[in-house]
């Protein structure tokens, strides 16, 4: 049907708004696409720039103990061990504390002044820059650990794997605690009430009903905290002692994957050296990615189920 001439003027603005409409759709589509492309580009760049080291060392990069820029032999085993030791030790130390906060806010004191203070303080704790944690650890924790080492007769480095784990554990408490609180509040009140009606005490309800029910969510929280601990750089770099040898005890100095990059990247001149450091970065990226994806997947599954 032919549009009468007099109506054309009325149609024009609609035409313009349709163009704006599609421009809007294209802009948001491209923005979302840009995120996916960005991540892919990050991964590809890391692979591309670690190619020299990947081809030179192959899989033996992961199991070789020597990291020697002078002779040009690079093996990441000391850093893998250092990263795993600090992260798992930090998780172990922080677990009772983050569990306690989750139970405190999620079950005992759901609302009220005390719980809102505790909640806000843990969130602020997460907001403090990691450099401040590192600085504080260097001047407060290191002397304490050194004093302890002198007492028990170990060589008093002060810095080392153990000190790094201590400060890391403080830093990851907020993460594990906030997820723990959420999964505890997701436990249906029906099963809690059922346990109470059978005469269970509160402690029995928590340890025998709530925690087992929230187990998979807790696992997710621990995984996400682990992901955070693995990638933490500055605080660890400042107190771990920066030794490229394989650590022989919990108190010996070491290096993590993140801290070796932070320490040596600007000094690295030989291209194989740079490429080996980038390969360490690639490893770190892949490990944290896998841990994060699994953790989020578990959480998504629980929140859909609830």
């Amino acid at each position: 049907m032919e549009i009468p001439l007099s109506n054309k003027a009325a149609i024009l603005p609609r035409d313009r708004s349709q163009r704006a409409e599609s421009a809007f759709q294209i802009i948001i589509l491209l923005s979302a696409l840009a995120i996916v492309v960005l991540l892919a580009a990050i991964f590809l760049s890391l692979v591309l720039y670690s190619l020299p080291s990947l081809t030179a060392f192959g899989p033996s990069f992961l199991v070789r103990k020597t990291w020697d820029p002078v002779t040009g032999t690079f093996g990441a085993l000391p850093f893998l061990v250092g990263t795993l030791l600090t992260s798992f030790l930090a998780l172990l130390i922080s677990m009772p504390f983050s569990l306690a906060i989750s139970i405190f806010i999620g079950e005992y004191f759901k609302r009220g002044v005390v719980s809102s203070i505790l909640k806000n303080v843990t969130e602020l704790l997460a907001g403090i820059p990691s450099i401040i944690y590192g600085f504080w650890a260097l001047f407060v924790l290191v002397p304490i650990v050194r004093g302890f080492q002198m007492k028990v007769g170990i060589f008093p480095y002060g810095v080392g794997i153990f000190t790094a784990s201590l400060i890391l554990s403080v830093m990851i408490i907020p993460y594990a605690a906030s997820i723990g609180r959420e999964v505890i509040t997701l436990v249906p009140s029906g099963i809690k009430e059922a346990a109470y009606s059978l005469g269970a005490t509160r402690q029995e309800v928590i340890t025998k009903v709530i925690l087992p029910y929230a187990r998979s969510g807790m696992t997710a929280g621990i995984l996400l905290a682990l992901g955070r601990a693995l990638g933490e750089t500055m605080a660890v770099t400042m107190v771990i002692g920066n030794s490229n040898r394989l650590p022989h005890s919990l108190f010996s100095p070491g290096n993590t994957m993140a801290s070796v990059i932070a320490n040596e990247f600007t000094e690295a001149t030989a291209s194989l050296y740079v490429s080996s450091l980038i390969e360490v970065g690639l490893l770190l990226f892949l490990v944290t990615m896998i841990i994060n994806v699994i953790g989020r997947f578990i959480i998504k599954k629980i929140s859909i189920g609830a």
């Binding site: 421009a23 979302a32 990050i42 760049s45 504080w136 029995e204």
Partner: protein
């Protein structure tokens, strides 16, 4: 016998509660210790000159951190300019097209990006900006920080938009308002407080980041406003001075820590308080 067991269970219950309370308060003790320590050590070096002078060489008394404050400011601006619009646009897509494949992959990419260690982002900014430009620069540091900001902004935008009630959009569309205008003029303003919270918290986060700047912004002992030259930032200054062997530099670093912690905590706290009042309720 059974009375004894009941008492035992009650005692265990009380003991458990006490343990939970004690452990909870123990775990927030570090915050108090750190704040106390930073303020105790840093306050003495804070004065007007500390805020308006540039650092002096070792051995000379005085000097300040103005170049680091300017550097941090530059880095935050460079990071925010592309990241805020891009992040909000991507957040709109993720919340408006829930069924699309791109939303699934985009959401996953956001999660992964958020978990990516900051030192890895540093390597990326080095490879993408420092290498082609042939030198360290504020621009490269800003881009690294911008990549770190993105996932936080996208997530808060998406989550805030998901909370917007459907009737808001339906009412606008029923009045004949085109879709894009509904989003830009009705939904986004209603969601502004939530999105602003995300933006400000992410600014507080990147203002304290050090790792991505080590080999991008690099640090600079002098005043610099030029974005293609290296700049100093507060966290970088603290790192370099804290790991130096000079006690007077340590005092200097405590002063800078005081400023940084003050900035970050004030931003975090004020966001929580102000935004809560400003928020549109449905």
């Amino acid at each position: 016998m059974s009375l004894f067991r009941v008492r035992l269970r009650i005692a265990k219950d009380i003991g458990f509660k006490a343990m939970v309370i004690v452990l909870s308060f123990l775990s927030v003790a570090p915050l108090l210790f750190i704040l106390f320590y930073v303020i105790g050590n840093g306050l003495s070096s804070l004065n007007w000159n500390f805020l308006i002078e540039i650092p002096k060489p070792v051995g000379e008394i005085g000097g300040g951190i103005v170049n680091s404050i300017v550097g941090s400011f530059l880095l935050v601006i460079i990071a925010s300019l592309p990241s805020i619009p891009l992040g909000i646009a991507a957040g709109i897509y993720l919340s408006e097209h829930k069924e699309s494949k791109l939303t699934y992959w985009g959401g996953l990419a956001v999660e992964v990006l958020q978990g990516t260690p900051s030192i890895v982002i540093g390597i990326i900014a080095y490879l993408w900006v420092v290498v082609p430009m042939g030198g360290f620069s504020a621009l490269s540091g800003g881009i690294g920080l911008g990549i770190m900001m993105l996932p936080m902004i996208i997530k808060t935008t998406e989550e805030t938009l998901n909370l917007m009630p459907d009737f808001l959009k339906e009412a606008a569309l029923a009045l004949g308002v085109p879709y894009y205008r509904t989003m830009l003029r009705v939904i986004l303003p209603a969601a502004a407080s939530g999105i602003m919270t995300g933006v400000l918290i992410s600014v507080a986060r990147i203002a304290g980041e050090t790792a991505p700047l080590l080999f991008t912004a690099f640090g600079n002992a002098f005043m610099n406003w030029n974005v293609i030259k290296p700049v100093n930032s507060l966290p970088l200054l603290i790192y370099n001075y804290a790991t130096s062997p000079y006690p007077e530099w340590h005092r200097f670093a405590w002063g800078a820590s005081c400023v940084l912690v003050g900035f970050v905590l004030t931003l975090n706290l004020s966001v929580r308080i102000i935004i809560k009042r400003w928020k549109v309720r449905f």
